[in-house]
Amino acid sequence: MKSIDAHSHVRGESVYLDDIPLVQGTLFACVFDSPIAHGKLKSVDTTEAELSEGVFRVITAKDISGENQIGGIVPDEPLLAHGEVHFAGQPIAIVLAETEELAKKASRKITVEIEELEPVLDPRVAAANGDLIVPAKQFVLGDTSNAFANCEHVFEGRTETNGQEHLYIETQGAYALPTEQGGLKIYSSTQGPTAVQRAVCRVTGLPMHHVEVDVQRLGGGFGGKEDQANAWAAICAVGAQLTKRPVKYALHRMEDMRMTGKRHPYSSDYKIGLDKELKIVAYEVTFYQNAGAACDLSPPVLERTLFHCTNSYFIPNVRATAYCCRTNLPPNTAFRGFGGPQAMFVIESAIAHAAEKLGVSSSEIQRKNLIGDGDEFPYGQIAESDAITSWMQGDAEYDFAALAKEADEFNSTSKYFRKGVAIMPVCFGISFTKTPMNQARSLVHVYTDGSVAVSTGAVEMGQGVNTKIAQVAAKVFGLSIEKVRLHTANTLRIANTSPTAASAAADLNGKATQIACEQIRDRLFEVAKPLVEAETVDSLSLENGFIYRDGERTSLDWQTLVMDAHLQRVNLSEHAHYTTPGINFDWGTAKGHPFAYHVYGTAIVGVTVDCLRGRYAVDYVKCCHDFGSSMNTAVDHGQIEGGIVQGIGWMTMEEVVYDEKGRLRSNALSTYKVPDIYSVPKDIEILPLETSRENLAIFNSKAVGEPPLMYGIGAFFAVRNAINAFNHTSPEFIAPFTPERVLMNLFRNDNRDVVG
């Protein structure tokens, strides 16, 4: 089953924000943003800009009719800066002009007076200053202090992971149109229509029922348009409210990169203790999360870091502490994996560190400590684990030892090249860790011609959620997928939505759709029962566009049945509600059962490093992945390949660079590099984990959006192993492994004649 959008995508007929036909009178916005990362905003002079050609109006903080605030979790993020600026790229003023070019031109004529203050860029400095966005959070299992005392081996160290630019190819944007009675209709490129609605209502002072948010699709999101889409919609809304004209703002790439937050960089300390048999007995970890200048989604990201601090391993004694540190960077935000990858990097580093010191392979420690059925996660949930099975099935298919041996043999004969291999197990929890967010609704209409329209709160951004939801409706109604059409995520049709995030959209919205369709189907069965002379509705089923009785096709087709039902005044629409059962979490005790289920997998990653030049290539990623029972292998394989490559990018070439003043230097595609077709693994193999275990996923088809990204972490350790094979220098655990860091490590002890 191919994506239902593929046909219009390849013909260039799919509609994204910038493709929406313009309404006459539309004004174009351009934001003037702070050139300084931290300072007192003494004055803003917009006079020249207002006189500039084609300018209709310039808006600053004082003009906002509602509250100048878009912070969702903590109200610490003004829409437009006033009094102080907290990051370079913070919006200060909005220019509205007749064209995009004129708005841009005018925005350059705005001047500001800022008294510069020292920017804080290092999360450890922020933590030392006590500048935390929320109080520190901690998970405790067992007693690490006592456990360390009894450990045979204890190792301590530090790791760094950098941020990651989302680089959705479609930049952020919104289009606001005034409607009757002072209301607004907002088109937004957002993963969270309700979050946009709330932000718009807050800044305009409108109640939510006056504001409609509509999302057709996104040209990529990856978490970057979960909370960070709010500002642009709010800016357009404020403009539309003040001018009574439609206002559009599709960001230029450099504006987008400069003004929006990214994956959180983390600096972390670990301490790992093992017994003689290489069992990990105790693990302490402290995470310093670089949250940026405002809260955004940093606390839940930080929480997921804690949830995944032991990755796929069972460790009986754990103490994990996490600090949400306020710095003068753009507010960092959700990014595929949502804090999980940062946590897994630390435990994998700790294991690599221990393995190196003990003269064993990391895989030996990894394998011995995989979490088993019935083991407890540090947050209290009991594992139904496929960590070991995914490892064993992967090993059986790919032969991990043979791959390692192949690399060793290559290394013993090659002069300038080294191969490195690393295994990366992954365990990722599915559900929003904030339990109330695990709800969704679906609106299903069956029309009298037999066609079906479905609306949910899920936002299609390439991950195939709409295809899966269409499959759900088609399956319940026994129709071909062409009979089902997915409509926009729209707050008038579906209210109070959770964002499309946490890999959970297909589960939540799919299940809501399943419920809605089943209710309509049950009513149709009542109508059908006398028509096909069935004894009970239980004997009926819908398949291939017909009613079946006891498995036999009847002469009653879907369309006739639907029309009959309508004439009998039977309701052909349903608005259903789904909540994930059995989940809970108590932050008081930091224990509970937060996840509907976990996704497991094991990947082996092989790389080749050119030790003359410091370049490298990923030769293969081979994984055994837990799909549950995939309802769409084409979509799911695409998620795995894409996730792996994005994870490799984060670990290798993608480097977010800020200068000492907190200004983004990697501010364009010419300076920020994501994988191209030549830098992806030559070979990606995906083996579905064989399991008969039941789960809470839609049709047992487990969430697949985020987990595969973390296989990419293996690339870091594979490169590191290759460098070690060249010179045994034990490179530090600092990601990404750019060609610079690789070459500098390759010749760490051999620099004298370079500068001489």
């Binding site: 191919k2 994506s3 593929a6 046909h7 995508h9 390849v10 013909r11 260039g12 509609v15 994204y16 910038d18 493709d19 031109k105 959705y168 190819i169 479609e170 930049t171 996104l218 040209g219 990529g220 999101g221 599709a250 230029h252 790439r253 090659s414 002069k415 300038y416 090249f417 951004m461 390439g462 195939g464 003359l612 030049r613 410091g614 290539a617 394989h637 695409g638 390949e641 894409g642 996730g643 994005q646 660079v657 364009a668 595609l669 010419s670 300076t671 994501v674 994988p675 191209d676 077709i677 030549y678 992806v680 990606i684 610079e740 500098m744 010749f747 004649d753 370079v754 500068v755 001489g756």
Partner: protein, 491 residues
């Protein structure tokens, strides 16, 4: 008045020639299939096909419309996705391959891939012989090359969703179907384009061509449209890209002369160049991407004066000279290495334009190598690049290059290590008369390190650039002479 054909439509427009083709097709023609991703030629979402009439045949190349001035469309056939789509709503073989292999997720980059692959298919079908059906080694090798070409056609398209594997599968599948009638890949109206362009060409008045040497001068646009797009969008610059006088590559016996508007792709396809540079494609593949190589001209690279301009570094090591023509029409010759006075400061009058590049044709006794490392190996700007040409005393006919020969003449260049693209004068002079051995290389490095002055920036720290140049300098010799280390070329 600019005249060209956009898809199936004749266009005549008085809009400024500096407007980007991207803005023209999206916002003036309402063809929304062409997407905006970065506006600096780095993502390929705005890729379009440009068809040029060459000797009564259409030749298509992809370009990024965000960096392409409307003026460069004059007399051409411009093709967007809307000009490819079958009118009955069905899919072309390229589109079908992308759908069947799930090569599209969010869809935003997809059209760029479809255009790149379509361009590949029609050009490959035009050029190629019948598809090999057998399994002989030679046939397998042809198949492999076809796959490589298919993949290289999309080397300028960035996708953030798929991880490319599905797109790669689609590309391979298409390469297996080749060649077929190119009509399969494009609608019926393409067959009339040759005659329509001929008619257009005959009718066109030549009046406005470069009579006025207006400033600025724009060639392929790949640098200036990144640097000052808004300024250029409103004006008619002096557009030289399709000036036929400037597009020739000529073998003059002892020297090779290349017109200023010759693109990197023209070099790659040139029999003259391939005859003297056996590794031409391998080296030039490191330069940007297919659509940018289709637009980027040599003179543009030289006058942009980027300290890391790949082609500048390349020609510096060939000890090339450039021909400068003043508005008065008088020519003068300048060594390329003398063009650079300081950061973006050129020994060139503002009314002078480069018309050609000339260099001595390398003989059998000459060796040339180009090295480049960037954060991403392909489709990236160099952190450090370097080229070397060596003339050796030993003129053996042997296949094995003799590393023990004496160097008679050496020219070494390096980018990313100084405010200008650097000709390493001292290092080059030092190498002359030396034997090629570890000592010479080490000693040359000492001199080289004293000649360079790298700074730390977003592409790397100064220390790294010094180390990297040392390594790439070593790599020159490993590539050229250390035949026992064959694995060096495997990656």
């Amino acid at each position: 008045m600019l005249q060209f054909i956009l898809n199936d439509q004749d266009i005549s427009t008085d809009l400024p020639g500096g407007m980007t083709l991207l803005d023209f097709v999206r916002y003036r023609q309402n063809l929304k299939g062409t997407k905006i991703g970065c506006r600096e030629g780095d993502c390929g979402a705005c890729t379009i096909m440009i068809g040029e009439l060459v000797e009564d045949e259409m030749r298509y190349r992809t370009m990024t419309s965000c960096l392409m001035p409307l003026a460069n469309a004059a007399g051409m056939h411009i093709v967007t996705i809307e000009g490819i789509n079958p009118t009955d709503g069905s899919l072309t073989p390229v589109q079908k391959a992308m759908v069947d292999e799930s090569g599209t997720q969010c869809g935003f980059c997809t059209v760029g891939f479809v255009l790149s692959l379509t361009n590949f298919c029609i050009e490959a079908s035009r050029n190629a012989n019948p598809a090999p059906q057998g399994h002989s080694e030679a046939e397998q090798s042809v198949m492999k090359r076809a796959k490589e070409s298919a993949v290289s056609s999309i080397d300028g398209n960035i996708c953030r969703c798929t991880g490319y594997k599905s797109i790669e599968r689609a590309a391979c599948r298409l390469s297996e179907q080749l060649p077929v009638n190119s009509e399969q890949f494009v609608p019926e109206y393409f067959s009339k384009i040759v005659s329509r362009l001929q008619a257009l060409r005959n009718a066109a008045t030549q009046a406005e061509t470069r009579a006025v040497a207006s400033v600025p001068v724009v060639s392929g646009g790949t640098d200036v449209y990144v640097q000052r797009p808004e300024e250029l969008a409103e004006i008619d610059a002096n557009h030289l890209f399709y000036d036929d006088e400037l597009r020739e590559i000529r073998d003059l016996g002892d020297t090779i002369e290349i017109g200023a508007s010759v693109t990197v792709s023209d070099l790659i396809e040139s029999p003259v160049m391939n005859a003297v540079f056996p590794d031409l494609y391998k080296h030039l593949k490191l330069v940007s991407s297919t659509p940018i190589r289709n637009m980027a001209t040599l003179a543009g690279n030289f006058v942009n004066a980027s300290p890391i301009g790949d082609m500048t570094i390349w020609f510096l090591a060939l000890d090339a000279e450039i021909i400068l023509r003043a508005r008065s029409g008088s020519d003068r010759i300048l060594a390329l290495k003398d063009l650079y006075l300081g950061y973006k400061h050129l020994a060139k009058q503002s009314d002078e334009i480069i018309t050609a590049i000339r260099f001595r044709k390398p003989g059998a006794d000459s060796y040339f190598n180009f090295e480049k490392v960037s954060k991403r190996t392909y489709l990236d700007i160099a952190t450090v690049n370097t080229a070397i040409s060596l003339k050796l005393a030993d003129e053996t006919e042997s296949e094995i290059r003799n590393p023990n020969s004496e160097i008679v003449e050496a020219h070494v260049s390096a980018g990313g290590v100084a405010p200008i693209p650097l000709y390493l004068k001292e290092t080059s002079a030092f190498l002359s008369g030396k034997q090629i051995d570890a000592e010479t290389i080490a000693a040359a490095n000492e001199i080289m390190q004293a000649e360079i002055s790298p700074i730390s920036d977003v592409r790397g720290t100064a220390d790294y650039k010094r180390l990297l140049l040392r390594q790439l300098f070593r790599a020159h010799f490993v590539e050229l002479f250390a035949t026992e280390f064959t694995d060096i070329t495997e990656s």
